[in-house]
Symmetry: C2
Subunit: 515 residues, 2 copies
């Protein structure tokens, strides 16, 4: 099997080749909306007060090499992940256990849970939920076994505001275009070729998910026109990514949508007596809309709730009869803690949500093991792995509580634990390191080109529409579930954060290698 | 019949309505490539040395009111104009007469003609010619007869580098989108409505014209891959307009094209022994291409020829076996002087090129009359019109030689002529004023909004592919001819120039009114 990393990739470019590639990349990206609003460090707001300038989104010059088997595995497993996370979101009592471990240390989780409880007190009036998920992976290849097949290991699972579905569709088209116009030198033609590139269908497919919820909502209860509401952050620089979903929703599905800054929720929406959510567009207050689906592209982080009123707004939306994408329980299902307990070896949780053993074991393969350091069965295993200098090299030791201290890596773990009283060990978890194969690429950002080692993260989108159970005897049912395209996000291997729009990475597409 | 100008158009907007319209306009335009590179006055080149910033192209907020009958007339007559100008381009001896009157006063025309003669000496080796034309009109409505039906009067006919075919397709889609999302207030819904808006098909249709020439060229003579060559200006800010044609050429027709700055023609192209034009892409010199079609988006103005070598380049291209869009004779057919002699009342010229009297008379109706002030039949008529204070109000007196002095308008004409010795009168022409109905709109440019009176120019694109005759007994034949969409270009009624990219106007689309 071909190795993912190759000394001859990406190809070296002559100055003329680079000029050709870049001039075509710059024009194509602007002509097709593969764009972001420029960072304030690039264009000062005072220079462009009305915000009409845009620039090429951070992109890679080349599609990054990616093992074909891993890519196919990631796509194939997405519907299992849809099933898993929609089952978690439907299992309030299980989630309560998770949240119970977090409420004291995480205000944000506590507030979300409290909001859920308040709605529950009055009773939920919408039993449909929509998930536009993204499961993020890295390729893992054990460096000690050079002939080992690469596999996917999950980095995180996003249940709210999964971004880049719009730009991902564009960047894979860009790389395809650059191939078509011979912007990649002939020397790379055995690698970058038609059937190695994969067009991401994410923009269309996620929009189709919103349209499915919109339709499933049914007829208007209030004789108003229906709409989808994009709840967004103010001054979003990554606005075109979201806009491409809106345009696909309108053009391909005929569904109207509006953008509502989260902080203005209470000014422009209200609940009817039956908790139908009514949106009043500020530009035409005479025509009000009934909201079928709330798509959160805001509200996922504590920074989105600077005022107490913002929690009132979240409660107000959650109470409504609109379908939430996501509901608060679905949002909570995306907690790191959920990932951690699922990925604990010998954990019974996965079986609970994925009764089909074959499906569960395929999902399990994508987990990087996460061990507690307590006296459970997994904990005892972890103590052995962490104290043995040879096995410890494959792990990272992390404090249980986020923000609670620094990580300890690999061979530093055994001496660290030796000095630590064993009673303090349970404050840490031991996590398998994901070892991505070394890769190179070039990232184009703000007009500058950065070459070098990179790390790629594959995100696979999933659309899932389900009906909640009644919490007692009915477990609910999945109405729609599909894999919805992919994102490749690539950052320099020196950078610590993966957010492309935040300036630390780029959108990318795959160039598949291997059988 | 409904009047084109209406006191209630465009509608007044509340601040909220304006915010909604503009935020949607700004995002849509960037997401769809309705863009230009920013002017140096907006973004200094030093701030963005690699040229990655772009901004919304100057656009109108609303589609401008336009009489439906005029719009339909303009589209319907385009194939007649295709026939007319391709016939002129095929009639070298007639063109020689026109050019003969210009060579002494116009170096540019003289150089073009000289270049043609040099190619002719060796013999042309390509008898196919492509025209991507644009016929520009204004609506004329006699202000002294308020019930007179509006008609189209031609402003000019472009035979080279007819621009905005790319952005025109985008702006009509923008206005349609703004209508769909209710960005136009309900008060205007009787005017701005689905069937009043017209999607311009110009980008696709012009690209299809280039593809038709590419195909008609036939197989490669040199076993090389074939391509179309866009000959362009350096640092073109209106690059996306051109790029949209390139993308349509590739995506909808599968035809490869390259952009070649006119000044680099001799470095990257060469003629084979049979005058096949070979293009060597600087980025991959090992793969050379045979050029089927040269599309000039440069070379139309004296400023494009700063060096003697630039004329050598034009000669080199004209000599080649590639199909020229346009050929030099076609380029010359676009001279103002040609328009002038065609539009002279009682002129025999139109009949020469359009033998079908019905077709000729329809074309004639779109001419604003242009009279010489000599002792011809038309000249005698003109002298009467110009010296009578009541008829003079409908005319402008222009010096024959461009740049030769100032125009004299309307009632100032009779006293002006009274003071001028009659022997000097023939140095002037008398031209019917085009009287566009008063219109209002708002133009969005560089983030600023300008409202007020506007003047609209309708451009109708035409594609024409023809075979030249042999200059003796064969008159050639038209192989393809179609109307190729439209452009509406709108400027403030105070400005003197109509070039949108140059900063004096905006791209627009029509909102048809009247039966």
């Amino acid at each position: 099997m071909a190795s993912t990393s190759r000394a001859d990739y990406p190809p070296e470019l002559s100055q003329e080749e680079e000029n050709y590639l870049l001039s075509n990349l710059k024009d194509w990206s602007i002509a097709h909306g593969l764009t972001v609003r420029p960072a304030p460090s690039f264009v000062q707001p005072a220079q462009d007060p009305s915000g009409v300038l845009a620039t090429t989104a951070p992109v890679t010059l080349y599609p990054s090499l990616f093992p074909r088997s891993c890519f196919e595995d990631g796509l194939a497993i997405q519907t299992a992940y849809n099933e898993l996370y929609s089952a978690i979101a439907r299992d309030e009592s299980w989630l309560q256990g998770i949240v119970g471990e977090l409420v004291d240390i995480d205000d944000f989780v506590a507030n979300l849970w409290q909001t859920h409880l308040e709605v529950k007190k009055e009773g939920y009036v919408q039993d449909l939920s929509l998930g536009l998920f993204r499961s993020d992976y890295m390729v893992h290849q054990d460096p000690s076994q050079s002939d080992a097949a690469p596999g996917l290991k999950q980095v995180e699972f996003n249940t709210i505001a999964s971004s880049f579905g719009g730009l991902s569709t564009k960047v894979s088209a860009l790389h395809k275009y650059l191939l078509t116009i011979d912007a990649y030198p002939a020397s790379s033609s055995a690698i970058i070729k038609e059937n190695a590139l994969q067009q991401s269908k994410s923009a269309s497919s996620l929009a189709k998910g919103l349209a499915a919820a919109h339709t499933a909502y049914g007829f208007s209860q209030s004789s108003r026109p229906l709409c989808v509401l994009f709840v967004v952050q103010d001054g979003e620089r990554n606005v075109f990514d979201q806009r491409h979903l809106e345009y696909a929703l309108l053009e391909e599905n005929g569904v109207r949508s509006f953008r509502l800054p989260f902080g203005e929720t209470l000014s422009h929406t209200q609940l009817d007596s039956d908790r139908t959510l009514i949106y009043t567009p500020p530009n035409s207050p005479a025509t009000t809309y009934e909201v079928t689906t709330i798509y959160f592209r805001a509200g996922y982080s504590p920074e989105d709730y600077p005022k107490e009123e913002d929690w009132t707004a979240r409660l107000h939306l959650e109470k409504s009869r609109a379908i939430k994408c996501p509901s608060i329980l679905t949002h909570l299902a995306g907690c790191k803690k959920v990932q951690q307990v699922l990925a604990t070896p010998h954990s019974p949780h996965l079986k609970r949500f994925l009764p089909n053993g074959k499906v569960a074991s395929r999902v399990l393969e994508t987990f990087a093991s996460i061990y507690p350091l307590d006296d459970s069965e997994a904990g005892n295993e972890a103590r052995k792995l962490a104290t043995d200098p040879s096995s410890a090299t494959k792990y990272v030791l992390k404090p249980q509580r986020e923000g609670g201290g620094n990580n300890v890596y690999r061979k530093a773990i055994p001496p660290f634990l030796e000095k630590l009283p064993e009673t303090h060990w349970p404050a840490y978890i031991l996590m398998e390191m994901i070892e991505p194969p070394p890769l190179e690429n070039a990232i184009f950002r703000n007009g500058e080109l950065q070459r070098g080692g990179v790390i790629c993260e594959l995100g696979v989108y999933g659309v899932c529409l389900w009906r909640d159970g009644n919490g007692y005897d009915q477990k609910g049912e999945i109405l729609e579930s599909w894999e919805a395209g992919y994102l490749l996000r690539t950052k320099g291997d020196q950078s610590e954060e993966g957010g492309v729009a935040a300036g630390f990475g780029a959108v990318d597409s795959v160039c598949l290698v291997g059988g």
